[in-house]
């Protein structure tokens, strides 16, 4: 009981962190698994969302919602730039696209650091959720608890849209057979643009929502990109449920892992990732057909 008590708060933090990573990685896994674009600029869009939300927020609820809206719109516009840039490269494979998105992330990161400087930008969160609550005898920040609820709702909504609506089935169809979706009368460039826009919106929203947890700063983009890549690879690209489980696992490793064994914590994430990748390759060499795995939502 004592051990559980001692690790309760880190474990809950892990859930919050994992959910944040899930929202952050969802856009990346959609774009990579379905659109085939490995978007190195994803972390930059997240940071953009965070900066925008931090600029708008002043502690009132209205400013908080406005901040999220602005962050989402900013992310969507970034996604539109991405769509326009990657469309001409569609039949040239992964690496030229990675080269382009890496270029975009460098340019975007430079603009962000010029506008916002090299400091962390704290987000002013509404007073009513700025305190702490008691759960099972532990003190816990209210905002994080609320974040867990909001992110869970987002995750459920996303899964519903992708798995149960017409737009979602269109995206899943595009992952399986782009040409067939084109033959059904949907212009491929529109599907691609919608995908990039949605991925950008998700990244921006995650940045705005997660700003109080991973505050926007000069390291944010790289950190979020790296963790998101770990999440989508562990959860298999394109799979939303897989990304969800992987995100929670990574969140727990980054919080619970540190509190249980701080000596080994630096090695845990990438060590486990290596093991997972190699074990999976040994077990399912038949499933190694390629990156464009369908969305098994």
């Amino acid at each position: 009981m004592g051990a559980i008590n001692a690790h309760f708060v880190p474990a809950l933090d892990g859930v919050a962190y994992g959910l944040l990573l899930f929202v952050a990685a969802a856009g990346l896994t959609l774009l990579f698994g379905i659109g085939g674009v490995l978007n190195i600029a994803h972390g930059t869009l997240f940071a953009l969302g965070g900066y925008l939300a931090a600029t708008v927020s002043n502690g009132s609820w209205a400013s908080a919602f406005l901040g999220l809206a602005v962050a989402t719109v900013g992310g969507t516009l970034g996604g539109a730039v991405l769509a326009a840039g990657t469309l001409p490269l569609a039949d040239r494979g992964h690496l030229p696209q990675a080269l382009l998105t890496f270029g975009l992330s460098l340019v975007g990161g430079d603009i962000l650091s010029t506008v916002y400087g090299g400091d962390q930008h704290p987000v002013v969160i509404p007073n009513s959720v700025n305190g702490t609550v008691h759960i099972f005898g532990h003190v816990y920040p209210t905002y994080r608890l609320m974040f867990i609820v909001v992110a869970s709702v987002l995750a459920l909504a996303g899964t519903y849209v992708l798995g149960r609506t017409r737009a979602g089935s269109l995206l899943r169809a595009a992952a399986d057979d782009r040409d067939m979706v084109g033959a059904m009368g949907y212009a491929p460039w529109r599907v691609h643009a919608a995908l990039c826009g949605a991925a950008g919106a998700l990244a921006g929203l995650a940045g705005g929502l997660g700003a109080p947890i991973i505050g926007p700063g000069p390291d944010t983009a790289d950190k979020v990109l790296m963790l998101s890549m770990v999440v989508i690879v562990l959860g298999k690209p394109g799979s939303v449920v897989g990304a969800f489980l992987a995100a929670i696992a990574v969140g727990e490793i980054e919080t619970l892992g540190v509190s249980i064994s701080s000596n080994w914590a630096p090695y845990l994430l990438f060590g486990l990732m290596t093991v997972a990748l190699v074990v999976r390759t040994f077990r399912g060499s038949s499933a190694s057909a390629g990156a464009a795995v369908g969305a098994h939502a």
Binding site: L99, L106, G108, M273
Partner: protein, 374 residues
């Protein structure tokens, strides 16, 4: 089959990703056309000379060599040390082109053996072993041993899984370098590494210029070796394994062993580059092995044209020049220029910088766009 379409007399055959046969014939045809059109005299002679694929392929190498030999006399100390850095990073880029271009294994963790080589040189240097050749040999061997061990894990995976496995191994290496304080000095890095003397009995390299000549010499030797090996049947085997893995396996080739050997060789090469980087900077820190370094070098190779060692060198040079030299008047905005360069390059040079070579003499690229699977 790849072999029949690759003309054996064409020196740039391993350099082009698309069917080289058609390229060369088209280029020759258009080259001679422009020669006859330009009339008589020396212009025609030059055009005829340039129409020969062998000569044309050699031109960029000659230009690069001339630049590397002449540049130091007109550069200041900072410029020369940047040039040395570009060469060390270029060796790393060549190692990535061996893996990503020739073996079809895009790596995001090649800065790890680079870091191992750099630390080996740093440890040797601070313990009084300042002979350059000894450092190069030891760094290369230790990095090869490191790659031999990590390769057993990495080589099992393919495609994106390989990319991410190498990324994870690279991050683990950087973490280990930061934690192993007694050997590496931790995240502060290892500084005050003494300058090297190239061979026993030679003078210590105490100026940027001397370091540059030493690094240039070492780079030339190692790149010449790589170039020779890749032009031998070894290069053809790697390309065949990349393009027709199943066929090579059924023909009895131990493909996994070839790729493991390529991984070890590339690791050794990266270690060689790391030793040179240590010699230039006289400082090593875990940052040298960071993810962004690996990604930058991978993209340098894409920029240069994936299967061209020369292109890899040029790509690394372009990156250092853009980030550290061109950005000089705009302090702190190196990333912006670098990003713009990547964005322009991806549209302007679909085949990489090495693919440019005298395009003027060729059929315009628009007329022969490559299909998705062809």
């Amino acid at each position: 089959m790849t072999a029949p379409t690759v003309p054996t007399d064409s020196p740039d055959s391993p350099d082009s990703a698309d069917p080289a046969g058609s390229n060369v014939s088209e280029a020759t045809a258009s080259g001679s056309g422009s020669g006859s059109g330009s009339g008589s005299g020396s212009g025609s002679a030059v055009a005829t000379l340039l129409a020969s694929p062998r000569v044309r392929a050699g031109v960029p190498s000659v230009v690069l060599a001339a630049f590397l030999l002449i540049a130091p006399s007109s550069f200041d100390g900072y410029g020369i040390s940047l040039l040395s850095k570009a060469l060390a990073l270029g060796v790393l880029a060549v190692s990535v082109s061996v893996l990503a271009g020739y073996s079809g294994l895009p790596t995001m963790g090649q800065a790890a053996p680079f870091l191992v080589g750099a630390y080996t040189a740093g440890v040797l240097g601070t313990h009084g072993h300042t002979i350059g050749v000894v450092q190069l040999l030891c760094g290369t061997l230790v990095a090869a041993a490191f790659a031999a061990a990590t390769g057993l894990v990495a080589i099992r995976t393919r495609g994106v899984a390989f990319l991410m496995t190498t990324l994870a191994l690279g991050e683990l290496t950087v973490t280990a370098a930061g934690e192993w304080r007694s050997l590496t000095g931790g995240t502060d890095g290892m500084y005050g590494i003494p300058p090297v003397q190239p061979l026993p009995g030679m003078a210590t390299l105490n100026s940027d210029r001397n370091v540059y000549w030493y690094v240039l010499g070492a780079t030339t030797v190692i790149v010449a070796i790589v170039w020779r090996v890749l032009r031998s049947p070894v290069g053809k085997l790697l390309l065949a394994c990349r393009d027709h893995e199943a066929r090579m396996r059924s023909a009895g080739h131990p493909v996994t062993r070839y790729q493991w050997l390529a991984y070890v060789a590339a690791g050794a090469l990266a270690g060689f580059g790391g030793v040179l980087m240590c010699t230039v900077n006289q400082y090593v820190s875990p940052d040298d092995g960071s993810f962004s370094n690996s990604a930058l070098v991978l993209l340098a190779v894409v920029l240069g044209g994936a299967t061209s060692p020369l292109g890899a060198l040029l790509g690394a040079g372009l990156i250092v020049a853009t980030r550290d030299w061109l950005a000089g008047p705009f302090p702190g905005h190196g990333p912006l220029l670098l990003g713009l360069m990547f964005i322009i390059a991806v549209y302007a040079f679909p085949d990489g910088v090495a693919g440019i070579r005298f395009q003027a003499l060729r059929v315009p690229r628009v007329l022969k766009r490559r299909g998705g699977s062809a």
